[in-house]
Amino acid sequence: MKQDTLRAREQRTGWLLVIPALLLLLLVYAYPILRAFGLSLFSQNLGTQLQPEFAGLANYSRMIADGRFWQSIGNTAIFTFSALILELVLGMGIALVLNQTFRGKGLVRTIAILPWALPTAIMALAWTWIFNDQYGILNDILLRLGWIETGINWLGNPTLAMVATIVADVWKTTSFVSILLLAGLQSIPQDLYEAHAIEGATPWQSFRQITLPLIMPQITIAALFRFAQSFGIFDLIQVMTEGGPAGATEMVSLYIYATVRRYLDFGYGAALVVVTFLILIVVVALAAYLIAKLRRSTGVET
């Protein structure tokens, strides 16, 4: 009896403490997503004088035939996967370096996390300046090395503009990956390596047989975070190229933004939000499934 009332009181206090935060999360996360699902079934644009008119799945069938949408999805996929792979490889390298013992390690670590902390929009300006066709330092270095004859118009060429935005994103977010991976590396007991080395394993074998499997959880989490963030990348691209040249770097987020803000097509914009959301959820669910499977398999082995 007494136990029950105590328990009930604990629950009541618990909810009391959780509810304010929960309400805010519902307002800022749940409402916009649910609203997008609802609005995506309506036409609400300049043609309907911004009044909502029920349209069924018209927005979705329009999307199937919308070349610009498919191009933006393609651009986003190229951007996301290139950036993700580069960030994981480079982040791993940096984490391995930061995990060594050397003088001034604290300072080097501080420097290495700096890019992550700085505003993306502002650092996009810095990268725009680096890639500047006339006065950019990148062209200057390449010219001095004699690798090119004249300055390259990086942001004016469709392929190179994509490369430039990927480079800037890799610079900005590799530090996040290396922070997570470094935490993983530090949790590996040193004697594992020593025992392995006594058995005659090379450093590369140790890396593949000890390091990689043991920090797989951190790798997966970093990859998941980076995937979701790259997939919705907005500020970096908006500042560097505005999606240009000729839509070559238009990501799905920029297309959504333009649809809503420039073309005032709220219904179609909502449908684009819904599809982006669903793609994200599917990938996250797949990743979660993989993580669970991974945990099970490592659990069996040890």
């Binding site: 935060a21 800022v28 902390a117 700085l118 505003p119 650092m123 200057d140 922070i179 979701a228 994200l280």
Partner: protein, 283 residues
């Protein structure tokens, strides 16, 4: 123990790798700084002037920012919005984190999974719905339109980091407080809060950084020049004239806009790393 001193080749390679990491991380920042203190002639010199000589130095780009633009306002706006949303976020997030760490509430596993899931949502998914709310409530060009979303987008991280902190606290403390007759709320404020300060600072630094850096909401909900935050104002500096882009001024703006964060990282590197890893990994 393995031998502490490795081959000189290995240490040479390590040294090289360290130099590369430092150059990679600092290069773009240093180049912006050098650009910001060069005269326009030096900026437009071909081949580039890497280290300006004394006659090529100027502070004009900085004074220009304050003379021609309400740059002081931009900084102040960013500070205000970031600080207020950080305080709100800690105030709402820590009690929730405590409840999720210690009190048994039905459905808490689902709640935690959802909180973890929404840390993955890019802001572009939210801006359309928020835009409607902002319009309906007449909150355009009101800092509330930034403070409330910033508080919300930082809540998941705050809850995860604070929860992992509360879980590490010894339970005896709370048990003895209960025996003394403290209620949960009283115990939270009088006993746990002082102990929690370091974790609050850690979390607060992260939420401050995220709020300072946010772009898409600030771009959409604030259009009055005097009310803009640093990232948006800086990004729009070049927009005023198409033909002559003020590279020096933009560089100066990037230096000033990143300076508070550079200082935060310099002083709190350990806390930032600790917060990020406990938020992402242990959650």
């Amino acid at each position: 123990m393995m031998t502490q001193r490795k081959f000189s080749v290995a240490s040479l390679l390590l040294g090289l790798a360290i130099v590369l990491v430092v150059l990679f991380s600092l290069g773009p920042i240093i180049w912006q700084f050098l650009t910001s203190i060069k005269t326009n002639d030096a900026i437009a010199a071909i081949p580039n002037v890497y280290f300006p000589n004394p006659n090529q130095l100027t502070l004009n780009h900085y004074t220009e920012l304050f003379a021609r633009r309400p740059f002081f306002n931009y900084m102040l706006n960013s500070f205000l919005v970031s600080i207020l949303s950080t305080i709100l976020c800690l105030g709402l997030g820590s009690p929730a984190a405590y409840a999720l760490a210690r009190l048994r509430i039905p459905g808490e596993r689902i709640l935690l999974a959802l909180i973890l899931l929404i840390t993955l949502f890019p802001y572009i998914l939210l801006f359309l719905g928020l835009l409607e709310i902002v319009k309906a409530l007449g909150l355009g060009n009101n800092f509330l339109a930034l403070i409330v979303p910033y508080t919300a987008i930082n809540l998941p991280l705050t809850i995860l980091v604070m929860r992992s902190f509360f879980q590490q606290l010894p339970r005896d403390l709370e048990d003895s407080a209960r025996i003394e007759g403290y209620g949960t709320l009283k115990m939270l404020v009088e006993i746990l809060l002082p102990l929690t300060l370091p974790a609050l600072v850690t979390t607060g630094i992260l939420t401050f950084i995220f709020a300072w850096n946010e772009f898409i909401f600030a771009l959409t909900f604030i259009t009055v020049e005097n009310m803009k935050t640093i990232p948006v104002a800086a990004a729009q500096l070049g927009g005023s004239s198409v033909f002559e882009i003020p590279y020096g001024t933009i560089a100066a703006a990037t230096v000033l806009g990143t300076l508070p964060l550079v200082l935060l990282v310099l002083f709190f590197q350990k806390k930032i790393v600790q917060g990020l890893t406990s938020g992402a990994v242990k959650g």
